[in-house]
Each structure stands twice: as structure tokens, then as C-alpha cells.
Symmetry: C2
């Protein structure tokens, strides 16, 4: 017998996240709360069910059979819950209420399976793709001109929520067709020596730009930045014009077979992860999360 603190959805989210991560610290990080809070919520849940849901030592966290069952049950209930809200939202906004998703370049084509799946699951759900500028990757979400945005990671903005990864792919280097690099089977960062890469201009934050085009080569040599390009088309124009070379996600090769451009695999570049990102203050978090959930279930195809 004690104060009747009711269980809330927020608590369930914590439980489900922990059941997924099996790690208090990472769970906390993922939900943008503290590890202490995760601990408290789980304790509360175990109190109210009367069951031990996780076997935990300081080194391992494991679901008990009851915990596993509860995870399945609650995940299902939670899904229905969100679906109900999404349905209301869709019927309310009608046809003109497409989910507005910001994309860079051709990503809109790449995530077509995701969009199709979302539309088939949520009757009446529409998705509108809006291209955003490389130079201002967070502008559209922040201005509420899109409900969500697909961006390469990392994204470290306190006002943005980073959702599931929707695609993972290797990188290529776009080089002028007449460059000496164009004839190679593959290149390394080191070979960017003496070549300029396009600058994306503000307000794109440096850490984000450098995730695609590092400031230094593995050996520590500075990569020189050249003229500014605000969109992918501008980047491609500069490359075709022989002004710069530019690391790009691999899928670009399929969509932009520019005459003057050759794409060469970047051998030593880690693969690029594209994630769905949205504002923590969005009005339509229900629909956005539903979209995110579909993405999560589909997994992230490696293109």
C-alpha cells in the first residue's frame, strides 16, 4: 500500500526503450533523460506490476520472461494507441494534410519503399517531399515548413529529435570527368590532396558538414575548401566545371549521371547513416512518430 502513482505512457516508452537497448545509460541518452530517471521509472514499473522485469548486474541487463511478455504486450498496445491518434489526425486534416518530409537531393526517391509502406498502413496518409538546402539542413524543420527531415548523422541539436536510421550507404567521390582521379577504381581521403571540396556555407554547422567532408585527412593534412554551394545541384555544377571534387553518398551516382562527372568509390570512408529527424516542439509528433515507427520496422537498407 502506498501513494497511487499511476503508470503513464512516458513510463512505458522508457520501459520499451530499455527492453530494446538493455543498457540504462544508452536508454537515457536515446530518450534525452538521465540514467537516474530510467532507474526510477523501471523501479516504479516493477513495483506496480510486482514482477522483476530485468535481471541486472552492473555489467549486464537482461529481460526476464515476464518482462519479455510485457514488452510484447505493451509495444502492441502502444502502437494501437499511436495509430488511433494518427488516424484522427489524418481524417481531421483531410487530403491537404500530407506529412511534409524534407530531403536532400535524391533521398526522396531512395525512401520510396518507406513512403509506400506508410501510406498503406495509414489510410489517407499522404507524404509530401520537400527538398532542403545543404547549407541549411535544419532550417525547414525549425521553421515548421516540414514535419520531419532526413539528414545524415550525426545531428546534435538540442531542439531536434533524432529518430531511426532510414538508410546506410557508402560514400563516393564526385570528380570532374577529366580529372586524373576519374580513371581510378577507388580513392582514399589522402588523395584529396591538392583538390578543393565545396563549402556548404552557413548556417550549416561545421560538425555536420565535416561528417561528409572531413576537415583533415587521416594523416592530418588539411582538406582545402573551395567555392560555396548551397544545394546539391550547385555542388554538381562546380564538380562538372572542374572547380572542386566532392564526397557524396553513393546513391547520387544513380540519380545524377552528369556528363562531366565521374564517381569514384571512397575506400576509407565510413558509411553514411541517414536518419529521420524532427523538432521536439512539432504539433504533429503523432504522425511523425508513426512514420518513424514504419521506418524502424523496415530497417535501414544498405544501398
Amino acid at each position: 500500500m502506498h501513494g497511487g502513482s499511476e503508470l503513464e505512457l512516458r513510463d512505458v516508452e522508457v520501459f520499451l526503450a530499455l527492453a530494446d537497448e538493455l543498457h540504462f545509460g544508452r536508454t537515457a541518452e536515446r530518450l534525452h533523460i538521465t540514467q537516474a530517471r530510467v532507474s526510477q521509472v523501471i523501479r516504479k514499473l516493477e513495483r506496480s506490476t510486482g514482477a522483476t522485469l530485468f535481471e541486472r548486474t552492473t555489467r549486464t541487463v537482461r529481460l526476464t520472461p515476464i518482462g519479455r511478455r510485457l514488452r510484447d504486450d505493451l509495444a502492441h498496445a502502444r502502437d494501437l494507441f499511436q495509430d488511433a491518434l494518427v488516424r484522427a489526425n489524418c481524417s481531421a486534416r483531410g487530403v491537404g494534410a500530407a506529412l511534409r518530409v524534407g530531403v536532400l537531393g535524391a533521398m526522396g526517391h531512395e525512401i520510396r519503399p518507406l513512403i509506400e509502406e506508410f501510406k498503406s498502413r495509414h489510410d489517407g496518409g499522404e507524404v509530401q517531399l520537400i527538398e532542403s538546402r545543404l547549407s541549411d539542413p535544419f532550417g525547414l524543420v525549425r521553421a515548421d515548413e516540414v514535419d520531419a527531415q532526413i539528414l545524415w548523422l550525426p545531428v546534435q541539436e538540442t531542439d531536434l529529435i533524432v529518430g531511426p536510421v532510414v538508410m546506410t550507404e557508402r560514400r563516393v567521390l564526385a570528380v570532374p570527368a577529366d580529372s586524373e582521379l576519374a580513371v581510378l577504381d577507388s580513392v582514399t581521403w589522402e588523395q584529396l590532396d591538392d583538390h578543393l571540396v565545396a563549402d556548404l556555407g552557413s548556417p550549416a554547422p561545421p560538425y555536420w558538414v565535416e561528417a561528409l567532408t572531413p576537415r583533415r585527412t587521416p594523416n592530418g593534412r588539411l582538406v582545402k575548401r573551395g567555392p560555396t554551394a548551397r544545394t546539391l545541384q550547385e555542388v554538381l555544377a562546380l564538380v562538372a566545371d572542374g572547380k572542386v571534387v566532392s564526397p557524396l553518398p553513393q546513391h547520387s551516382t544513380r540519380y545524377f549521371p552528369y556528363p562531366g562527372i565521374t564517381y569514384v568509390p571512397l575506400r576509407d570512408a565510413p558509411s553514411t547513416q541517414w536518419a529521420l529527424v524532427w523538432s521536439s516542439t512539432t504539433d504533429r509528433s503523432g504522425v511523425v512518430r508513426a512514420f518513424a515507427r514504419v521506418a524502424e520496422e523496415l530497417g535501414s537498407p544498405s544501398a
Copy 2:
């Protein structure tokens, strides 16, 4: 775009209650919150879905089609949600974890259909009936010796939650077999004149005792109280002994065919409603609410 106040289960309960009552004031009363709060929660929900869920004037509240659909969806999700917790609770506590329900007299037999339905819906759910004293109707719940208690209404205790009505029935008057009242087809309160009724003793609160045995007749004459009886058996013994007469719920006639007692229908008594009641600070509100939900769906048979 605004502060991302997430939707919580508490809010859904308010919505579902309002969808049921279609009246802000009554909804507030039922949930033990203020009418203002109901208004705020509904506004929040309508904001976050973007839909008008209720058509309302100051005189009428009506569900919109979207609201109706949302009610069905959310009610279903909410049920799954609670079921998940109940299941965890049942597996955790195992066989020795019966839901302990306090009853007065033979109510335990009367609600057998309810108990069967509960057991069939919640695998492993057991119900243990515990008889409580008429003289201390709230004692067992407060001492956490039962998880819930079945009592006649009204129950006005700030620390207790009044759940669904499980039965509605007429009243009879138990009279000694040799009383002049025993030969009548029915009696009225007025005819209690010159007869004593049993006193239930403390700590039973007067308002609750008087719901069964009013202090005054409709014409305003005082009903005299006689010797104290703490349990139903004691009441019956006093009646059989010719000491008192006693208004009782009708089902008593089926279970206590005492040789010395005759039951006469009470013509002008309003029917008695039996409701499930539990402590607002119970540890097992999940299971209790699940039981309450089954009761709600079965409705209250008029015996």
C-alpha cells in the same frame, strides 16, 4: 508549432469518460477532478489531433464522427494496455495472488457470473471472497486486507474510489415470522412504526447505514433503532428472535431462508445499488481496474 506536451494516459481517460458521459461536469465528478481540467484536457487533445472531437454548446455535448472513431480506437488500446499490466501482475504473484474482494453477506454468490467472466478473460486470475462486517464496511479496504469491496451506494469517502455498479435490486423487510407484518404482501416505510431496526454500530458512518435504513419515514416519523448487530448473521438472529425488523437487499431472501424470518417486499423503497469500491492508494489498481472493467461491460443485473 508549440511546446511539445505529449499526450498521456491520464488524458485519454478523461476523453473516454467524457465520450461516455457527454457532460463536462459529470465527467469531472466521476474522475475526481474539476470541470475546468476536463475542458483543458479536451482542448489539448483536440489541438494535438487537429480535429474537433466534440460538438458542444453550453447545453449539449455530442461526439463528432472523428471523435467516435477515436473513442473506439483508444478504448481498445487502453484495454490492451491495462491487460498487459494485469497479465504481468498475475504471472508475478502466481497462484497465491487472488484478487481479494470484500463482500457483505451473500453478495459473493450474486456476483459469481462476474467472477467467472473475469477469470476466463484473465488467465491465471483468481478471486478470493472475504466477508466484511456491516459495522465496518470500509475497514478491510483501508487496511489493505482486500483489494476491492462491494458495497451499497452511496459511498462518500475521499480516500475511496467508487467504481461501476455491479447489481441493482429492490429491498425487502425481514420480519419475525410471527409478526403481524409477516402476513402482508408488501409493506411501506410508514409501517415500521413501533418496530425497532437493528443498529450497525461504529465505525459504519450514519449516511451509509441510513441509505439502507432511513432515520425517518417519508412522513417524517423517527425510525427507532434497537440493539446492535455487527454482521448480517447477527441481524438475522435478532430478527428471528423477534427483537427487530430489518430492511435488506432482496437477494437475502434467496440465501437466508431462516425458519423464524419472513421477507416482505418494501413497496416504497428505492432500489439499492451495489458498486465496486477500492482504495485510491492500492498497490494493485491495475488488477482492480481490470475487474471493474469486466463489471462495467457485464452491466448491473437487476435481481
